[in-house]
Amino acid sequence: MRQPSKENNLFVSTGRSSKGEPWIWLTAGGLSLGIVMVIALLGLILIKGVSSFWPRQIVVMQIDGENGSNKMAGYITERSERPSEGGNRIAQIQIFRGNKDIYGESFLYLDERNIKSQEISPGYMLVERTEYGPAILKPVKLVTPSGTIEEGTQGFDDAVQRMIAINEEVREQTRHIERKLIGANARAIRDIEIDLKVGKVEAEAAAAMREVLQEEFVKFQADAAKVRERIAGYEFHGLTADGREVSYMGSQLLGSFRPNDSNWFQRFWEMLQRMWRFLIEEPREANTEGGVYPAIFGTVVMTLTMTFFVTPLGVIAAIYLREYAKQGQMVRVVRICVNNLAGVPSIVFGVFGLAFFVYFVGNSIDQVFYGDKLPTPTFGTPGILWASLTLALLTLPVVIVATEEALSAVPRGVREAALACGASKWQAIQRIVIPASLPGIMTGIILAMARGAGEVAPLMLVGAVKLAPSLPIDDIAPYIHPERKFMHLGFHIYDLGFQSPDAEAAKPIVFATALLLILLVLVLNLTAIIIRNRLKKKFAVSHF
């Protein structure tokens, strides 16, 4: 046999040529990087979000710094390093030492080399308060109306828990009085003022009514004061790590936990409780403490309202385009336009929503129906209705495209069979085509919901606010308040991260909120994907 010549060599190595193999591996690297990015990001948010609830152990540290020796207790929130002279890196930790009322700043960076000793010493307590965030201290004694209980004696912790439970009840009752009863009272007084201005009531009658309401108001205030008396006799004394004595009124305390004296299960239980409180409580202290319930509520209501608008509009437009319009150049152009809109930046929709819904439609509504309240705008200001409509426009292309796709996937034979059986065109669509394409339409709607729930930029213009005093749906007539501003999870993240007075203190809440928002969007997306996969299987069978 003749040895293959050099040129022939080219043809020898076909099967598993090594040529170009590095490039293939490079493409594999690209894909891996993409996957790693998604997993890392989701993992980061999951870890950071969950760990913001985890009760960390309190470390007591002896610090020798430039300003002398100091003892301090707190938990470590972050480890990092910074460069210094000569190329060295100095390890530093960030600790949360609480007691903002005493130290001014609750977060602190420490060089690790300055820490002389650290130990997890028992007895320290993390106390949640109504103001200044949590306190970290060693309890000393609890003064109750029925006597003083010293720390270390039997039943100290139970007594503290009892006091907190009482305070919880008191807060609940006073909130009811202040929000519901006094709130209704104030509204009644305001309505009288408006009636008086418009001329519906005589001045004397109005004065008499005001008198009655005023009396009622005084009575409510007395009620609230009476309720508060229940917690008045309690006082909690403690000692900070650097030896300062502090005391709090019973009404200031919201919760207590001893992370250093608890086992893993107790801490886990505490974490679950914190998560639950995060979901159902209202925010406190400029949103940096407490929960995000109003934001969850606002997001859900806004998303559902948006779905309510976008579904019929999108489906009708798609049915028109696919079933009624003459398929030609014109429809092609319209389709390109609709696709185009899906790519238009969301902020542009926000701009439109502000100019059209808020200033144009809203002001017109105010002039026609709420003239007596002007110049205070009712609908002529950003609100949840306008936000929902804006997002409905934003997500309309998603629904139209998905519905069209679903409609076109219904086999022609099915349609013709229906018509051949004597069904009218609408009957065929209503009874055959729409049910067959329902999963596809659903997918589109759910994707639209996911997009709408995660979108923030347009909301900055048309209605999301930092703190809404009341929810858009409540038990005050007329129960649904589409003109109200609302809180939104996404906007909450932006606001806490960038407008909050203490961004560092807000970080755990932001991570938790981000986790919540991502979970919401993920669940919606996964639902859509699952429905779509089912759908593919179904059509795969019916395709013949």
């Binding site: 040529s17 950071k48 696709n339 809109l341 969301s346 902020i347 609408w426 995660g454 981000a514």
Partner: protein, 763 residues
């Protein structure tokens, strides 16, 4: 067989019930109507936004709205805030007030001027103050005050003018009658003690002298505060020629003396000192005929005898020097003749007229907002306090009133897209600064820094995303087993739906601080990870075929993972080492050497290093852009007809050759459309840029500083913009720009994709 009792078939059994037909027709129309309405509404979005922005491009609308026969040709004309009652002054003790509302006239006499011989006078529109100089060398002033009075039942109102006389002072220096005066006043209602000054010129020709009288509200030994003279300064020796004209800015901080030879001496007042700063000579070979100050007090408008008009502004030549005058822009020339000038007290517009020509001009953009040939010669003119009326006195003895409607004088194509020399700036430039601290702030509405910011953000995002997305798409389409693909594609879609506010938050609060001191590590990782992957691929290719055959195709992505992690980690920990070798900052004062990239970069390149920079933004935007590009490119590559790839493989192409020579060329237009849609997504991204890009509207390609993009700018500023203001409409204009930018890209992408689909069909 049908029985005899079988019912006869209903003859209507093939007919459809009327209700069904009616309903069908109704639904048909309903859906047609609804569908078309939705589509029109959706497309109408663009037109609605554009409609808000359109008024920006309208020029001023000026219409004559009345005239009054005055019978005189007054050299000075003044007016109240609403342009209802102008007054005329011809020197002497008499002021004539004309009422445009009821056409009546009213005369007021200034008591102190009864027997005086007035030889010079000047009117300051800001304070409504007339300053006069007398034959015997004394100077004085009086204020014109309009008070609005109401009927008892508040149904009507009228203006009641009054004259408030101020003290008279004697000029010590020079001799002869006063030939020119000008008043500057830095006091305000909150702080009446502010310094004031009167610039006085005495005599003519060789003997002319210029001096400054400095005044202050001061408490005497007894009684209330009174305006007292605190000194006089003779400027004559410091002049560069025979003085012709004097002018003080209305806030009294600067004094300009124009010489006969055309030189202008600029003096600055600093508390009680008056110092000469600069002498400049505008108009080559021509002499200034008129010098006027613009609103804001840092710009002057000079008009030469042959009608050239220029704006000179105070600015610093370099960061250390004092502010001196320099020419900023030139306006279209005026006809020859006496010049009529008056500036607005709201913005940078002014009236300029000469001959039979009258115009309204805007100094920031250098635009002529309105111009007209009138059938009289304007002699004096004024803009009212609200900038709603022009009052012009003609040589025919008639006072003409014009209604001005120019809500957006700041706006013009040049202001948005061209370089503009703003007051105080060192040159013409693109600048965005929509709001400022004081009322005489000059808004700067150039969209160019924002467009540049958007493109910069997009560039850095795409720089990272395109390689990753395309590589991933190629691997996924060409090599990945179907079972894995079924998991990975939805994962990428989930990546696309991550809320950008979360990405922005992570970028700003997690990634930016982490990367701040790790730039060398990042650079190493960018270098090492792809190289290591290529190397592993090369080594793999060297392995015997027997070994390589053990691995099914499409598993490479898993094998690559540990290598990437290893080298990524190596890069991370080696970063500080490299920093110590190359990026050493030397402290200029102490000579200390610090290995710190964040300090080395500004020293080495002169550009800023910010924590929230384009690197961070580019990486985080990757999460938004990669999945978009990946999904579309992957679709395009997957849809390459199997017959083509199979044929080339059968002809002996190896698997990379199939990709490189068949799949990529065939899917090229699809890949291109993916890139354009990725571009659209990146340009419109808002929250990441609001949160992590720093937000300074600079035009610098520097990767280590931030930017302000069109979208982020809208999100930040629109909630605060007053409805209908220029700022508000300009933000709408930037939304239009954004809309057009993305629409063009998306349409192009869509057309390309459709073409690709058709081509694949044919194949």
């Amino acid at each position: 067989m049908p029985g005899p009792d079988a019912k006869k078939p209903d003859p209507k059994r093939f007919e459809v019930s009327r209700n069904t037909l009616l309903f069908d027709r109704f639904m048909g129309w309903f859906i047609r109507f609804g569908g078309i309405a939705v589509i029109i509404a959706v497309i109408g979005i663009f037109f609605f936004i554009a409609k808000v922005a359109v008024p920006l491009f309208r020029s001023a609308n000026v219409e004559q709205s009345g005239s009054v026969e005055a019978g005189v040709v007054p050299p000075v004309i003044g007016v109240d805030e609403r342009g209802e009652m102008p007054f005329l002054y011809e020197g002497g003790s008499k002021l004539t007030f004309l009422n445009f509302v009821d056409q009546s006239t009213k005369e007021l006499t200034v008591p102190g001027l009864k027997d005086a011989v007035i030889t010079a006078y000047a009117f300051d529109t800001v304070r409504q103050r007339l300053t006069y100089g007398l034959e015997d060398g004394r100077v004085g002033s009086f204020l014109i005050n309009y008070e609005r009075k109401f009927n008892e039942d508040a149904t009507g109102s009228w203006l009641e003018p009054a004259v408030i006389e101020e003290p008279v002072f004697t000029v010590e220096h020079g001799e002869g009658p006063v030939t020119a005066v000008s008043y500057g006043d830095a006091s305000d209602p909150d702080d009446p003690s502010g310094a004031r000054l009167i610039v006085v010129k005495r005599g003519e020709g060789q003997k002319a002298s210029v001096s400054v009288i400095k005044l202050m509200m001061k408490k005497g030994l007894i009684g209330t505060a009174k305006l007292r003279m605190v000194g006089q300064t003779d400027l004559s020796s410091k002049l560069s020629g025979e003085a012709a004209m004097v002018r003080a800015s209305s806030n009294g901080t600067m004094i300009l003396v124009v010489s006969k030879n055309g030189d202008i001496d600029y003096f600055a007042r600093d508390v009680l000192e008056v110092n000469k700063v600069q002498t400049f000579h505008p108009f080559e070979g021509e002499v200034p005929q008129q010098v006027d100050l613009l609103y804001g007090g840092v710009s002057i408008i000079l008009t030469s005898r042959d009608g050239q008009q220029q704006q000179w502004s105070l600015f610093r030549e370099s960061a250390e020097s004092v502010r001196t005058f320099g020419m900023v822009k030139e306006f279209p020339p005026l006809p020859k003749g006496a010049v009529v000038f008056s500036n607005s007290l709201r913005n940078r517009s002014f009236i300029a007229g000469a001959g039979n020509y009258l115009s309204l001009r805007y100094s920031t953009s250098g635009d002529v907002r309105w111009e007209q040939q009138v059938d009289y010669k304007p002699v004096a003119g004024i803009i009212d306090g609200k900038s709603k009326h022009l009052i012009v006195a003609g040589d025919d003895g008639v006072i003409h009133r014009y209604q001005v409607n120019d809500p957006h004088p700041e706006a013009s194509p040049k202001a948005f897209f061209g370089k503009v020399w703003y007051e105080g700036g060192m040159g013409a430039k693109y600048q965005w600064q929509s709001t400022g601290g004081s009322s005489d702030f000059e808004p700067k509405f150039s969209l160019m820094p924002l467009i540049f910011g958007s493109l910069k953000g997009t560039f850095y995002a795409l720089l990272f995303s395109i390689p990753v997305a395309l590589l991933a798409a190629v691997f996924s389409a060409a090599f990945l087993p179907l079972s894995v693909k079924r998991v990975i594609k939805p994962m990428m879609e989930i990546m696309a739906s991550l809320p950008s506010v979360v990405l922005g938050f992570l970028a700003a609060f997690w990634l930016a601080p982490v990367l701040q001191y790790r730039v060398p590590s990042v650079m190493l990782m960018i270098l090492m990870v792809p190289l290591s992957v290529l190397m592993i691929g090369y080594c793999w290719g060297r392995l015997p075929v027997v070994l390589r055959n053990r691995l099914d195709g499409g598993q490479e992505w898993m094998l690559v993972l540990p290598v990437m992690f290893l080298f990524g980690w190596l890069g991370w920990i080696l970063g500080p080492v490299v920093e110590g070798w190359f990026f050493v900052y030397t402290d200029s004062s102490s000579g200390k050497q610090i290995a710190d990239f964040t300090m080395w970069w500004p020293q080495a390149t002169g550009m800023a290093f910010e924590q929230r920079n384009s690197l961070v933004v580019g990486f985080m935007m990757g999460f938004a852009v990669i999945p978009v590009i990946f999904t579309i490119a992957e679709d395009a590559l997957s849809n390459v007809p199997k017959s083509l790839t199979a044929a080339s493989a059968a002809l002996g192409a190896n698997r990379w050759q199939v990709v490189w020579t068949i799949m990529l060329p065939v899917a090229s237009s699809g890949i291109f459309s993916a890139l354009m849609i990725g571009f659209g997504r990146a340009v419109g991204e808002t929250m990441i840029l609001v949160m992590a890009a720093g937000g300074t509207p600079v035009m610098e390609g520097n990767i280590f500083n931030g930017m302000r993009t069109l979208a982020a700018n809208i999100a930040i500023e629109l909630p605060e913009a007053a409805v209908g203001s220029t700022h508000y409409r300009t933000l709408f204009l930037s939304a239009v720009v954004l809309f057009i930018l993305t629409s063009v890209m998306n349409t192009l992408a869509e057309v390309l994709r459709q073409r690709l689909r058709e081509r694949n069909k044919i194949v």
